[in-house]
Amino acid sequence: MKPRAHPAAARRRWLKGAAALAMARSLPGFAAPEMPDIPLLTQLLAGRVPRWERLRLDLPALADNGLAVPLKLALPGPFAPGPSVQAIHLFSEKNPVPEMAVFEFPAPLERIEIDTRVRLAGSQKVVAVAVMSDQTLYAAAGDVIVTIAACLDGS
């Protein structure tokens, strides 16, 4: 008689498979956004993996004009007595100058909330990385659809 797998073992195997499948299906929801391939960003990260939390990057989902897109950065405190924010780097996936701005905080600020307007050469992902004084990194990303890109090529 052919030895048969124990029914409980078979069930365990099936459950494991089902669990793995469920995990795999749910993963994209939990997975960190994909980092765009920007050399300066890679250099800043230097192999470290930022935490996709705490830092907020607000951009309109749709921008009519890439010449001036409102952008908001926020990193809620409190900071003291923990690490403070040293800098927030702002990267563009498609601009000819990928590092759009670096906000540096020479002294700890109690409230980190910055508004500015950026130029975007087309629809793309914008990434912000906050560097804390203990070298922890927080990241946030936003996708923008730009209907009229900033005329960076002069055409």
Binding site: V69, S92, P96, P106, L109, I114, D115, R117, V118
Partner: protein, 106 residues
């Protein structure tokens, strides 16, 4: 150059952050543009912006052509003592600009 508009509250409560807004008139030429006669317009952007509160640096920004023309920044500074917020910036042509606003801390 060097036109700017600054907005800070006249009065701020000690220990609380107050809003600072500044908008600087500057074309932020990207260096990718040609003028009407087809001549290349050289890059000229504000490359550094800084804000000091009673002499102590509170914010510095390394700026690129990715910041829109007539750069605008809004941020928060914690009120400590009555005094001045001083802003300064410099562009690729080496032209400096500055602005100042007073705040009374109550």
């Amino acid at each position: 150059m060097a036109d700017s508009r600054v907005s800070v509250p006249k009065e701020a409560r000690r220990g609380e952050p107050f809003e600072v807004r500044i908008s600087i008139r500057h074309p932020m030429e990207t260096g990718y543009r040609t003028d009407e006669s087809g001549n290349h317009v050289p890059r000229n952007v504000i490359r550094r912006f800084a804000c000091r509160y009673n002499g102590a640096p509170v914010l510095a920004v390394r700026v690129s052509s990715g910041i829109a023309a007539n750069p605008y920044f809004r941020f928060f500074v914690t009120a400590r003592e009555s005094g001045a917020l001083e802003f300064e910036w410099v562009d690729d042509a080496g032209v400096r600009g500055e602005a100042r606003a007073d705040v009374a801390v109550v």
